[in-house]
């Protein structure tokens, strides 16, 4: 009972943090898993969303929604820019695109600090969700609780769109065989642009939603990118459910794991990630016989 009591808040917080990571990583996994673009500038888009949301927030609900809208639109526009930049590289594999987006992230970071300075920008969220609530005798931030709900809804919507709608089916088809989508009468550049735009929108929205937790500052882009990469690699690129599971796992490692073994806190994330990757490769290789393509895509 004592242990449960001590670790209750970290465990709950792990869910909130995991969902934040899921929302943050969603755009990256979509673009990488389906579009084949490893977007190193993803964290920059997240930070941009955060800055935009912060700049219009004044504590009213209308400004909060306006902030989310502005963040999403900003993310979408940058996604479009990304689409234009990566389209000529579509036939050249992943590395040129990663290199380009790495360059863009460096340029983007410079632009953001030039515009917004090096201070973290606080987001003023509506009073009714700014406080704390009591859960089983523990104090917990209201916003994070609300975030759990909102992010769960987003996850469900995402799973539905990708799994049950025509657009989702098209995207999944694009992941398997891009030529086939072309054969179905959709210009590849339109699919690519739509993917980049959607990924940018997701990143911007995530930045706006997450800003009260991971406030937009000079470190935000790098941190979000690193954590999102961990999430999508552990969750297998392109898999919504996988990303969801991985995000919750990483969230719990960063909270519950830290709470249980704080001495090992600095090693937890990357240690477990390395173990998970290797174990999975072992399992994958025995199941598929280490075929020509490395690892199977479940």
């Amino acid at each position: 009972m004592g242990a449960i009591n001590t670790h209750f808040v970290p465990a709950l917080d792990g869910v909130a943090y995991g969902l934040l990571l899921f929302v943050a990583a969603a755009g990256l996994t979509l673009l990488f898993g389906i579009g084949g673009v490893l977007n190193i500038a993803h964290g920059t888009l997240f930070a941009l969303g955060g800055y935009l949301a912060a700049s219009v927030s004044d504590g009213s609900w209308s400004s909060a929604f306006l902030g989310l809208a502005v963040a999403t639109v900003g993310g979408t526009l940058c996604g479009g820019l990304l689409a234009a930049g990566t389209l000529p590289l579509a036939d050249r594999g992943h590395l040129p695109q990663a290199l380009l987006t790495f360059g863009l992230s460096l340029v983007g970071a410079d632009v953001l600090t030039t515009v917004y300075g090096t201070d973290e920008h606080p987001v003023v969220i509506p009073k009714s969700v700014n406080g704390t609530v009591q859960i089983f005798g523990h104090v917990y931030p209201t916003y994070r609780l609300m975030f759990i709900v909102v992010a769960s809804v987003l996850a469900l919507v995402g799973t539905y769109v990708l799994g049950r709608t025509r657009a989702g089916a098209l995207l999944r088809a694009a992941a398997d065989d891009r030529e086939m989508v072309g054969a179905m009468g959709y210009a590849p550049w339109r699919v690519h642009a739509a993917l980049c735009g959607a990924a940018g929108a997701l990143a911007g929205l995530a930045g706006g939603l997450g800003a009260p937790i991971i406030g937009p500052g000079p470190d935000t882009a790098d941190k979000v990118l690193m954590l999102s990469m961990v999430v999508i690699v552990l969750g297998r690129p392109g898999s919504v459910l996988g990303a969801f599971g991985a995000a919750i796992a990483v969230g719990e490692i960063e909270t519950l794991g830290v709470s249980i073994s704080s001495n090992w806190a600095p090693y937890l994330l990357f240690g477990l990630m390395a173990v998970a990757l290797v174990v999975r490769t072992f399992r994958g290789s025995s199941a598929v016989g280490a075929g020509a393509a490395a690892g199977a895509h479940a």
């Binding site: 001590t6 917080d13 709470s259």
Partner: protein, 401 residues
């Protein structure tokens, strides 16, 4: 194998690019090496600060404080026009080595000011010392082997904790939970606190009686660390955090089980931009600092009014004041170093300097450690007019040796 046509062009392009770039570096170095101080000729001063990387939130204040002094003194130090050479230490450490070498070898600076991160001090000071160039340091100060050319304007990393320890041992009715980031500066800060605190009879509430160190820079969520505080029965928290960590820690603390447990900290947790970002969450935090903008002295009024004039009426952070003092110390030292100041002469002049009149009050450099012997103040975050401010509520000890 090596038979792609484009790779020929590529190879050639890269080769030509690299060669021209480096050759140009050589040319520019040979031209700029002519500059030397003659009469009241302009002098070069280097300033190293974090403009990118994990400390960039702290960097600009170091630059702005120094620049403000120059702005208000006709861009002159010791009667010479100053050309300020700014360099970026990035994440600190090895990245600053070429920056320092450039300042010394190419710009022939009289002194190097600034330096945010302690690894940068360890990397740069040996180089500067070998070249005889004084380093007037405005960030945290670790233990250094050879301090002959290192002059610290801020404090020894252990000082803030050492000033707060005895006070908390006396005034907190029970044990204290201590936090810090797991880098050397964090260890030093917390060591200063725990040594002084336990010596004064206090007891840490942490597991195992040792301060808790959070991974830096990767900790964004302090909730799991804070969840242990209440159960430990601590009556107060003491911590040292700066920049983004400070903001996250304060926000998480204010929304956790521990929110009713008073938060004491080294002053950086509510300095400048951090306080703005924390907002109401920071209200009531008690900090120790060797500066408060509401100190009433002529020097401070001049500094505060110059700062708030330039920066939309804001109160200056302590870091900017250290940098202002660095400029002021250099101003006096260069003036004493004669019409043709050399780095060595400037270093000797700093060494011979007595009492320094500063916005924080008068202080002087310790002969042993070259760190200020100065008074520490107890401050509390309160509403001051329309905005939150670090208001001085008392004096702590004078520290330094």
């Amino acid at each position: 194998m090596f038979s792609s046509r484009v790779s020929v062009r590529l190879r050639a392009a890269v080769a030509v690019g690299a060669v021209t770039a480096l050759a140009a570096a050589g040319c520019s170095s040979s031209t700029s090496s002519k500059s030397s101080a003659k009469g009241n000729a302009p002098i070069n001063i280097g300033l190293i600060t974090a403009l990118t990387g994990s400390n960039q939130a702290l960097g600009p204040d170091h630059l702005n404080g120094f620049q403000l002094y120059l702005d208000t003194h006709n861009d002159m130090l010791g009667g010479h026009k100053v050309s300020l050479k700014v360099g970026d230490e990035a994440n600190g450490g090895a990245a600053a080595v070429p920056v320092a070498k450039k300042m010394i070898e190419q710009d022939h600076v009289l002194a190097i000011a600034g330096i945010v991160a302690t690894p940068t001090i360890q990397a740069v000071v040996p180089i500067a010392t070998a070249a005889g160039v004084p380093v007037v340091n405005t960030g945290g100060r670790p233990t250094v082997k050879d301090v002959s050319h290192l002059w610290t304007m801020s404090f020894m990393s252990t000082d803030p904790g050492a000033s707060m320890g005895p006070y908390m041992a006396q005034n907190v009715p029970g044990s204290v939970y201590a936090f810090g980031p797991d880098y050397q500066g964090g260890y030093d800060q917390l060591r200063g606190f725990t040594d002084a605190y336990t010596k004064a009879g206090g007891k840490l509430a942490n597991d195992g009686g040792k301060a808790t160190f959070t991974p830096f820079p990767n900790t964004t969520d302090f909730t799991p660390f804070l969840s242990k505080v209440k159960a430990s029965g601590a009556k107060a928290i003491y911590c040292f955090y700066t920049g983004q960590n400070a903001i996250d820690f304060v926000k998480d603390w204010s929304q956790s089980d521990a929110k009713d447990i008073p938060l004491y900290a080294a002053g950086f947790i509510t300095e400048g931009g951090a306080l703005k970002a924390e907002g109401q969450a920071a209200n009531g935090i008690i900090t120790t600092m060797n500066y408060s903008p509401d100190i009433s002295s002529a020097a401070n009024r001049q500094f505060v009014s110059a700062w708030s004039q330039k920066y939309n009426g804001e109160a200056p952070p302590a870091t900017a004041m250290y940098s202002w003092d660095a400029a002021s110390v250099l101003d006096q030292a260069i003036a004493k170093a004669g019409p043709n100041p050399t780095p060595d002469a400037v270093n000797s002049a700093i060494k011979a300097m007595g009492q320094i009149d500063s916005p924080r009050g008068t202080w002087q450099l310790s002969a042993d450690t070259h760190v200020p012997v100065q008074k520490w103040y107890l401050r509390k975050v309160e509403m001051d007019g329309t905005a939150l401010a670090n208001v001085k509520i008392g004096d702590l000890a004078t520290i330094g040796s």
